[in-house]
């Protein structure tokens, strides 16, 4: 297992270099003059040129990439063109909020979707199943923006139960996490249901029932565990999307996350910040993928063999 983990970590290096290359070139070749954006619309051309020289933007994109890569190998992902603060520092200031939101979003969605999906599968075509599927359909259809505003109106304004935004209180994450996780909850419910339906029709489940094993153990221990693989995949994908992608939720709830940071940096052409954040997000994504693969092993021990991990 350790060998496998080390191998995956080493694979990070070519991935990061590849991502940095692609993102650097895309961002630097996009239309729009970074020096002009920093100088402002009323700066004269001499000032713009001076800023361009100071930031090294007059060099060719290949030279700039080589310089960036060299700095990156030394742990320096550059500084924000606007705040002059190191990119790494600003990113890690924002990361805890993003991780907090992502974790609770996934947890909320799994806590609701797993039982819902399992029960729907077990009681297929029942009233409960139909209601659950309609609920899941709503979850997929309702825009995050609208749900967020509704949540604020209900829980913050009417009930005065939760804050309307920000990250000031320990419970501030609740509303954003529920909003963010709602769609995943809906998707995971449907996926759990269909996966369970496939599994509970298997012969070994029939055998388990025939052997007199209680229904609860059959469903939760034998069926659910085998049905979890696609659910784990979905949860992993969702977690990856939220690291750097929850811009709408972060905007509505004024949540100081990485998503808004990247979005604002793109608009302002803060190139160092964009490239640096994407690289750091890539590292996190690779780590999450590795963790998901390890969870597969826990859920389904048969998978160990595909990773070349053998006992004895």
């Amino acid at each position: 297992m350790l060998k496998y983990i080390c191998k995956r970590i080493l694979m990070l290096i070519p991935v990061i270099i590849g991502v940095s290359f692609i993102v650097f070139f895309i961002v630097n070749l996009a239309p729009g003059d970074t020096a002009r954006m920093i100088a402002g619309s009323d700066a004269d051309q001499a000032t713009v040129e001076r800023i361009r020289n100071e930031l090294g933007l007059e060099d060719s994109v290949f030279v700039r990439y080589a310089r960036y890569l060299w700095g990156g190998l030394h742990g320096d992902l550059g500084q924000s063109y606007y705040s002059d603060q190191p990119v790494v520092k600003i990113f890690f200031q924002r990361l805890p909020a993003t991780l907090l939101l992502s974790f609770w979003s996934v947890l909320f969605s799994l806590v609701i979707s797993l039982p819902l999906g399992v029960l729907s599968a077990v009681k297929q075509y029942s009233v409960f199943d139909n209601c659950a599927m309609v609920f899941a359909l709503l979850g997929v259809s309702i825009p995050t923006f609208w749900l967020g505003i509704l949540g604020i109106l209900l829980f913050s304004l009417k009930l005065q139960f939760l804050p309307s935004g920000g990250n000031e209180y320990w419970y501030s994450f609740l509303l954003p996490a529920i909003t963010n996780g709602f769609q995943m909850m809906a998707l995971t419910t449907r996926m759990t249901r269909s996966s369970m339906l496939e599994v509970i029709r298997q012969d070994y489940i029939t055998t388990a029932r025939a052997k007199g094993i209680g229904e609860r153990i059959v469903v939760l221990k034998h069926a659910l565990r085998n049905a979890l693989i696609p659910v784990v995949t979905t949860a992993g994908n969702f977690l990856i999307m939220m690291i750097g992608g929850a811009v709408v939720t972060e905007t509505i709830f004024s949540w100081p996350g990485v998503g808004r940071l990247i979005f604002d940096s793109i608009s302002k052409r803060d190139l160092n910040m964009v490239v640096g954040c994407v690289i750091l997000v890539t590292v996190i994504v690779c780590i999450i993928n590795l963790l998901v693969d390890l969870v597969y092993v826990i859920v389904d021990p048969k998978i160990k063999t595909t990773y070349g991990i053998r006992k004895g």
Binding site: D84, L150, I252, S254, S267
Partner: protein
Amino acid sequence: MKATKVLLLIGILLSCIALFLCACGSTASEGSAPSTETATESTPAADSGSTSAATAAHKADDTIVIALPFDIASLDPYAQNATLQNALSYCIYNTLTSTDLATGELSLELAESYEQVSDTEYLFYLRKDIKFHNGADFTASDVKFSIERAATSGGMAAKVSMIDHVEVVDDYTVKFVLKYPCVTLLNVLSFTAASMLDEDFVTANGDSYQPNGTGPYKFREWNSGESIILDRNEEYWDKPGGAAVLKFVIMTEDTSRTIALETGDIDVSITVAAVDYDKLKANEDLVLYADTNNKVDYLGLSHIDPITSSLKVRQAIAHAINKEDYIVAVLEGNGETANSIMGKSVEGYNPDLPEYEYDLEKAKALLAEAGYPDGFELTVTARSDRDNLLSQVLQGQLAKVGITVKIERVETAVFFDKCAAGQIQASFGNWAGMTSDADNPLRGLLFSGNAGTNNRTWYQNEQLDKLLNEGISISDQAERIKVYHEIQDLIYEDVALIPLFCELQANAANKDVGGVFIPKIGDAMPYWSYYWK
């Protein structure tokens, strides 16, 4: 069973529709005529005695929580020419002179007095015993350092471009030498472009320094993307700040700010969307502050484009525009038409300047004379959702005279590129000068040397340039006003720009927060004056 399922589904569908209608319902009155009169503050209803727990906590801590609509990229006063950063700079730093945001009046601040030695030389005598937040003395060398730093900065160099160099005469006397005569120096020195920094502190700490000024508030903490906290400077040399603590929170979404204000999570909301005006006015715990300032929105037509460079075409478009339509459609009635690119509170504004009357027949006749009897295609470049809305209104208006408006939506960075290349045929813009001086908006938007930057229309008129330079060299105010009246006449005759409207600027606050008002000058708000009643 089947019937039960159908009934259940119908029930769920009806519930969804009901939920949808509840969420999308509006409390605004229907059919009300648009208001063009400027409003001041809405009077709250009689005190109901209700205060949220959050508001009570803020009052107990003497903290005012202010929601800003944009993120702050830097607290360096020279980093960017951005309105919100400017306002925070006024809390932390002082300048040599100061513009009263309420009246536009210019006064001395860190300078105790000054003397104009010649057309291009000014001596400033500084106040003594002024200290920076870290306890260091404010002296003449700090002035020299600050101006030189501003002159080489990214965001503010253009603002201080008239200053050739600064000389330290003694610890409390400094001489400004200008490149050319410029009577607007005192106005320029009141802008955040001339915020006074501590030379030793900035030099020692490099560019990653923490803000350290002489202003009414000291910097405490900055949580990136979340909040900035300032503490009142108890040793401030002048009238102290209002609240003990100012906490600025970043809330970019209009609806979120309004709701946060209603729940008491914030105490002041900067910039309120027009759709929320009625709701806020109806809330007895809140006050809506709305007024026009010197910001004017305009339509700019390219003076180098083959079609719009024709005076008759520009005149035709001016006659085809009904300014009221923008106020109704985009501002929801919250604004007034503008006859000049200069705001009413700017010195030299001409209230008697004529406007191009709305006359479609005249517009069509002018187009025919210009050689476009069947109209033409006009591309309007929009860089924001607001510009997009304005462009849509223009689209409908110009269609009546045969002009087809094509809207080109681009990002700000691309917009600047196109400006610099002279590729923008038409665009909307606005200007709110940070001082009451007339030169600020006019030079920015119309001076030929600024073509391709703020002068997006590439208007290049030697006579206008000459008048602008004359305006900044005349010290007699009455004579200056005559020059600026002449400039406004020229803008009108040449259709250099088409002034459209002045939008109501609106903030909202808890009724117990005092010191809130809409400045007559610029977009910066007087946060340092906010206090709990």
